[in-house]
């Protein structure tokens, strides 16, 4: 029962020595030499947990495209410390048990340097304990509050996407100032929905608003009309967030329920992520508002780096695939993969990462990060990383449907998204 920290758990001895030798040599060379050395050095292997099958498959497809695009870009620019990145993709089946197994595979079989993952919170939470035990840095792109809540461990970080708590509380000022004070919330009756319920109702009350009714929809539900009568008559704003394959039914039936006289509607784009806004039955959304992690439609004032990012991923101006206009992206979340891979690069370069023995140094290097300026590495916008809670904070977008497109109307500042620390991972041992 050895618990040595620096034991290279994954690599067979020979390949580990080869890796160390090559990378060590690369690190001592000047930059231009690293670049030319890149073709011969052992690649940096990043294990990618992908939702190929199961309920998260639509997200998995776009997480994959974004990640591949980021890897291609980083490699074209010379890789990390002169070494190419190789993405090792495994299907987690959108299942926490398989997720944990896949993580073991990364660490113990495919010799990955770090693991990088995935959207659905239960997969992250099921996998994270194994990441801690394997001492494998695990970068998640999940938007769950699990990292910052202190539930996970020092090896799990979320530097590329903001968490649901900060997203939700940043919406309250806009909703209460522009849409109304009396809110009815509709959310799925499980942990993700409960986070929305708890954090938003607190935040809207702080703004002088009030939640009239909270309608929790059972996760197995496929038809929704029967829940809408619970919406009180004096509701000024509907706040909705749904996930899963039934989202389009949900939004459509909401439109059929209200007919011509609807209250203001504010939703999280999760309710329509990967769904075409011009789908039949969605006309009623004209004029309603959505939270977006990153705008789906190319905005008129978009910066050049946003355009470059979108071109690299292969997204057209409507947020659909450039190859198939019906294939709508998960724009509000997938940018997190792009940014996370760039943070892994930055962390590895700052720590002089040369092999699995430097994993701890990599985590410490990422923990030391603070400001992340907007740019091609961070196309969603500027961010502030909190090394203690392992969670990043950034701007949030509120868009209105105009002519069938989402137009950004308000950008919540980073300050709006901050909340007191709930954990200090840096005090935990590795």
């Amino acid at each position: 029962m050895t618990k040595s920290i620096d034991r290279p758990q994954s690599a067979s001895r020979r390949s580990a020595l080869k890796t160390l030798g090559a990378a060590g040599a690369a690190a001592t060379l000047p930059l231009w030499a690293r670049y030319t050395n890149a073709q011969t050095a052992e690649p940096i292997r990043i294990g990618f947990q992908k939702h190929v099958t199961g309920i998260g498959a639509a997200y998995g497809r776009w997480y994959d495209r974004t990640s591949q695009a980021a890897v291609a870009k980083i490699n074209a620019e010379g890789g990390i410390n002169g070494r190419m990145i190789e993405l090792v993709t495994e299907d987690d089946g959108t299942d926490p048990k398989r997720g944990a197994e896949v993580l073991e595979k990364f660490a113990n079989q495919s010799n990955c340097d770090v693991a990088f993952g995935t959207l659905f919170s239960h997969v992250v939470i099921g996998s994270a304990p194994r990441a801690g035990e394997l001492k494998l840095p695990y970068f998640v792109v999940s938007e769950g509050h699990h990292v910052a809540s202190g539930m996970l461990n020092r090896w799990t970080l979320q530097p590329g996407i903001t968490d649901v708590k900060s997203q939700v509380q940043a919406m309250a000022p806009f909703v209460s100032n522009n849409l109304g004070k009396k809110v009815t919330m509709i959310f799925p009756d499980f942990a993700f929905g409960h986070d929305h319920r708890d954090y938003f109702s607190k935040a809207i009350e702080a703004q002088g608003g009030q939640v009239l009714e909270m309608i929790a929809i059972p996760p197995t539900e496929t038809s929704f009309t029967k829940y809408f009568p619970k919406i009180p008559r004096d509701t000024e704003v509907i706040y909705h967030v749904m996930v899963g394959p039934a989202v389009l039914t949900f939004v459509k039936e909401m439109g059929e329920f209200f007919g011509p006289s609807r209250p203001e509607i504010f939703g999280f784009i999760d309710s329509l992520e990967a769904v075409d806004l011009s789908s039949p039955g969605l006309d009623f959304l004209e004029g309603t508002y959505f939270w977006e992690g990153m705008p789906r439609y190319l905005q008129p004032d978009a910066a050049d780096y946003v355009k470059s990012y979108r071109d690299a991923v292969g997204v057209d101006e409507n947020g659909a695939s450039t190859e198939d206009a019906k294939d709508v992206s998960t724009a509000a979340h997938m940018f997190g993969c792009w940014e996370t891979l760039h943070i892994i690069k930055a962390g590895m370069e700052a720590s002089g990462y040369s092999g699995p023995g430097d994993r701890q140094a990599l985590v410490e290097a990422v923990e030391a990060m603070t400001d992340m300026p907007a740019g091609i590495e961070h196309p969603q916008g500027a961010k502030v990383f909190n090394g203690k809670t392992h969670q990043v904070f950034g701007s949030q977008y509120i868009s209105q449907v105009e002519g069938g497109k989402l137009i950004v109307k308000h950008t919540a500042s980073i300050e709006d998204t901050l909340y007191p620390d709930e954990v200090d991972y840096t005090t935990q041992s590795f």
């Binding site: 309920i55 498959a57 497809r61 059972p218 009309t225 029967k226 039914t249 059929e256």
Partner: protein
């Protein structure tokens, strides 16, 4: 919303669910009744119906109505043929052994899901209904001037949802007539009563089984086509539908067509109505326990007579 209109809305929604469920479950009931096998892949035939409706709608031009009619013809036939082929290549060879059929149909379920995922993809895709207008419904109240009609906020349905209810009723009636009035139906019922005796009388039981399995799957596919303009086609949509139709078939009494229909109405309506009184997830828990307890105290189902 006030109680009366709310209840009416819940019942309308329940009726749509009941209609689709009755159609799908009568397919399951048919295979179970005649062949005595549990077809775990039944939900996947339902899903295939919905997915094919999407494909047909995108290949056939000429507007939503023509595409819908084409889908309603093509999808059940294609799915039925596929199921009959599966019956002849797999189920026949394992001799309709109950346990092995469960494993084999689970295998079939994996294959169908994966092939759908690879060809159709992971998205939930909508199909346009042939017609769909919102119908606001009136409610009455005792006002100063006696009985008066008014239109409460949100009390509405769509013409397509009403069509689903009517279409399912017609189709189920057609199946019933087919079983009772035609020679093919007679043969099926004979096989159901005693397959050995049927063989002795020269009925080609194997072909009857293939036909029954195909028809059962076709009914599920038809249910899928009907529901897809209301919900969307998604490659995992078969799971919950399968569970519900299982429940319906068992509650109705194994192999009893009439029982299946009544149970579908009961389950569909109660799903809507219980949600009026309880918080939704609690309602689901109670409804689930209720089904379990009905079976505990009436194991043969509501209409089954065969003691087990």
């Amino acid at each position: 919303m006030e109680f009366g209109p709310y209840l009416m809305l819940a019942m309308l929604e329940g009726a749509v669910l009941a209609a689709v469920l009755a159609l799908m479950a009568s397919g399951l009931s048919l295979t179970f009744g005649v062949m005595r096998v549990v077809n775990v892949a039944h939900g996947e035939f339902y899903m295939l119906g919905a997915v094919m409706a999407w494909f047909v709608a995108h290949l056939v031009g000429g507007g939503a109505a023509i595409a819908f009619i084409a889908a309603a013809v093509i999808a059940p036939l294609a799915v039925g043929a596929m199921a009959a082929a599966a019956d002849m290549t797999i189920l026949k060879r394992i001799d309709y052994d109950p346990e092995r059929t469960i494993v084999a149909t689970i295998g079939l379920l994996y294959v169908i899901q994966q092939v759908t995922l690879m060809t159709y993809g992971a998205d939930a895709r909508p199909v346009e209904p042939p017609f769909n207008s919102r119908i606001a419904l009136p409610w009455f109240e005792w006002g100063e001037e006696g009985l008066a009609l008014y239109y409460p906020w949100g009390l509405s349905t769509t013409s397509y949802k009403l069509f689903v209810i009517a279409a399912a009723a017609v189709l189920i009636l057609a199946v019933r007539l087919f079983m009772t009035r035609t020679k093919a139906g007679l043969i099926m019922r004979a096989t159901q009563l005693d397959s050995e005796m049927a063989t002795a009388f020269g009925i080609p039981v194997e072909r009857v089984y293939a036909a029954v399995f195909g028809i059962g799957a076709g009914l599920a596919a038809l249910a899928g086509v009907l529901i897809v303009p209301v919900q969307q086609a998604h490659y995992l949509m078969g799971g919950d539908a399968l569970l519900l139709s299982f429940i319906v078939v068992i509650i109705g009494g194994l192999g009893s067509m009439a029982g299946t229909i009544v149970a579908a109405i009961l389950i569909g309506m109660s799903d809507g109505i219980i949600s009026v009184f309880f918080s939704p997830t609690l309602a689901k828990i109670l409804a689930t326990l209720l089904v379990a307890l009905v079976l505990v105290f009436r194991p043969q189902g509501l209409f089954g007579s065969r003691p087990r």
